[in-house]
Symmetry: C2
């Protein structure tokens, strides 16, 4: 069983069937996948979902992929962690982390969108795929395309973090560094997709690609025991993820899988690239493009394709958007790791710092059930922590030297003196 | 429902109840956890397991943790991937990858053993824990202890990879670099554990810790549809993992969860530290310690605690052990990534290269169901790939420049000329 789906213009409603297209020819608005949920109502039950695979493919029937598509890569189904330790520090009594820092297979939520995009690439008969990327997407496309036997061209800004570049090359993808920022790279990809008829996951396959983000929302609801949270805090780059989580919640309500509930949506950006947050703070939906200047590269999209839709959603639901400095995001990376054992990349630092501020400013009530979305892994942006930790002098492997070192450092001194063992 | 368990000496059988001990006082043999499976037989069914959490805790009843222990960190339940692409390259028709490169929460199989060790640390009342580590273990202890609110001291060889050090410090652990190799560090930890009464997961908590590895075996059997494979290929450092996978299979047979079957066990080491492989090749079980010299640091244990037991198991089951050079392991990292989209660390390169050789030498029949165990993530040992990839000149963001670049590079030239789009 799968729902029927097709592309339509978000504004004028013109229908395009299913094709590798992303923009309405009439009004130049982004196209969106529309699913006919009627067929699934009553058919797609909690029990059937629970019996599915432990990956986002348990929701395959609600994603725009062919019914006979056989996924070869498990993706998604990441933990929803209760966060009492972080909560105590920031004044949150009912906080959860949706932890896509450990998303399969390449450790960011981009694995979800790529999984759906490559399914549609197969359906459209492309044998070469690609993307423009700030890093995580490149990793996800390279890995999943390798396993699916697709040829791959990936274009990235030349100044990308080394770990993200290596983590793309190792899968055998053709990686091309572009002398420009993400917006330059993205424009070039559009031209290449047209010229060579390649399937660029975030260009001509973008409407399908974006639907993969719905799986974050599906999983949150299921992992909360089939209910919706009061609030969701979501990082914003192009502005698509926050919209799709909202869409997922609406679909679950329409299917009768969760009770209806008003959910407020909050957006997080780095101050050095915060066009959507600026719009929300000014009470408008029009986006003024910015020239990105932040270490949170995976959020550094100065002219976000879905920016005005994200800004509108946040305001319509009574949420808010905030932005934090690079210094704040680095501290938040450390705080999240120290409290909950979750090591996230710069984008996750942004989301965590924004979440803390939303509580501090009283925009979220401490008792409300709030989910904060961590979207990538800290091992990919270790540069951000350079200088945060000293590499201590090595100690000789003798007990006396260890004791002298601990005494000198005075760390956790009371433990050393008193011991800590109690049966 | 949980099985009863206690420590016993592997050789003389002396019982020790449950305590933070690792060596028999009488004969200096490692202690082992013995589980009384009778209580679980018929009680612990496939259905109950399937209804459990999607983590290794679905097997909690078969692990040495208190019945009322509430895990706060999902760990394990990693994908078992069919590997047809790698299989074609190395002549394997029925090959699977157990992919602990994406093990939760810190991307190595060490998360499994730490999960059980910290549960026992809680049970014994320790409030400070630690380990000696070649890196992955440090990451796992630091992250899980942070979330459990335990204080942490971690001792590592001073020359450890930078990514593994940072990925420990970020969780707020006290990291102490020791001027020596792993065996030196390990000895020092024994002394510290005695002196301060701290819970060192791989020292005084070692018997409990090691049991966590059984979850790899449980998962393989369940993911194969409740059956055992013909062969398993396992990397060997201390020699514990391979034993525990065998133990897990035997427990499943004893519980009536899988049909009995003869499984052959194969071990993988780097040539620069191959004391167990050397013993197997010589047809003996005694281990001659080696001074490690390999980039596969996570396998670089020159005097493996469970070495002779691993060597005996391999020979008893009719398996074999192989070792590969550092050059071969780097190639194997690339081959695994290019074929199956799995980016592993140096240890996984060793296992993949050894697996290939076992097929090449006819030690494994192409049609036999074989599982190769990948135990860690490539993002932690990116140094190993330094120099493997050129960082190409950046290209200006214009179609003409892209075309000129592609022409010059001549990569995948036919695609460029003919296009690849077919509806």
């Amino acid at each position: 069983m799968a729902v029927a789906f097709e592309l339509r213009c978000r504004e004028c409603g013109r229908s395009y069937g299913n094709a590798p297209l992303s923009i309405c020819e009439d009004c130049f608005t982004p196209l969106e996948v529309f699913c006919d949920l009627e067929a699934a109502r009553g058919e797609f039950t909690r029990e059937k979902i629970a019996a599915g695979p432990t990956s986002m493919w348990r929701y395959k029937a609600l994603l725009p992929v062919a019914e006979d598509f056989e996924p070869v890569t498990p993706a998604g189904w990441t933990p929803l962690l209760k966060a009492p330790n972080l909560g105590r520090r920031i004044g949150a009594n009912n906080l959860y982390i949706k932890n896509d820092a450990v998303c399969l297979p390449t450790l960011s939520f981009k694995d979800r969108v790529v999984a759906v995009a490559l399914a549609s690439a197969k359906a459209f008969g492309f044998d070469t795929v690609g993307c423009s990327s700030t890093g995580n997407l490149a990793n996800a496309v390279a890995a999943q395309a390798a396993r699916m036997g697709l040829k791959t061209f990936i274009l990235v800004p030349a100044d990308l973090e080394a770990a993200k570049i290596l983590n793309t090359q190792v899968y055998g993808a053709n990686l091309v560094r572009i002398d420009g920022n993400y917006d330059h790279v993205n424009r070039l990809c559009s031209q290449i997709a047209d010229r060579y008829h390649w399937g660029f996951v975030n260009v001509n396959l973008r409407p399908y690609y974006a639907e993969g983000s719905k799986s974050v929302g599906f999983e949150i609801a299921e992992q909360l025991g089939w209910r919706l949270p009061d609030n969701v805090v979501v990082p914003m780059a192009g502005g698509s993820l926050i919209r799709k989580i909202h869409k997922a919640f609406r679909e679950l309500v329409a299917l009768g899988l969760v009770e209806d509930k008003h959910v407020r949506f909050f957006g997080a950006q780095a101050t050095g690239c915060s066009p959507i947050a600026a719009a929300v703070k000014a009470g408008r939906t029009e986006i003024e493009p910015q020239r990105p200047s932040t270490i949170a590269r995976s959020l550094a999209i100065g002219n976000p394709a879905d920016g005005r839709y994200a800004a509108a959603l946040i305001q319509e639901t009574g949420g808010y958007a905030e932005d934090v400095s690079d210094v704040e995001l680095v501290s938040a990376i450390q705080e999240l790791a120290e409290t909950e054992g979750v090591f996230t990349e710069t984008a996750g630092g942004v989301t965590t710092a924004v979440t803390a501020r939303l509580y501090a400013h009283g925009r979220i009530h401490p008792d409300e059930l709030t989910v904060t979305c961590i979207t990538g892994n800290g091992l990919k942006t270790t540069d951000a922590l350079q200088g945060s930790y000293e590499l201590e002098q090595a100690v000789r492997p003798r007990l006396a030297d260890f004791e002298a070192y601990v005494e000198e450092k005075k760390f956790q001194h009371e433990l050393v003196l008193e011991g800590s063992y109690a049966r």
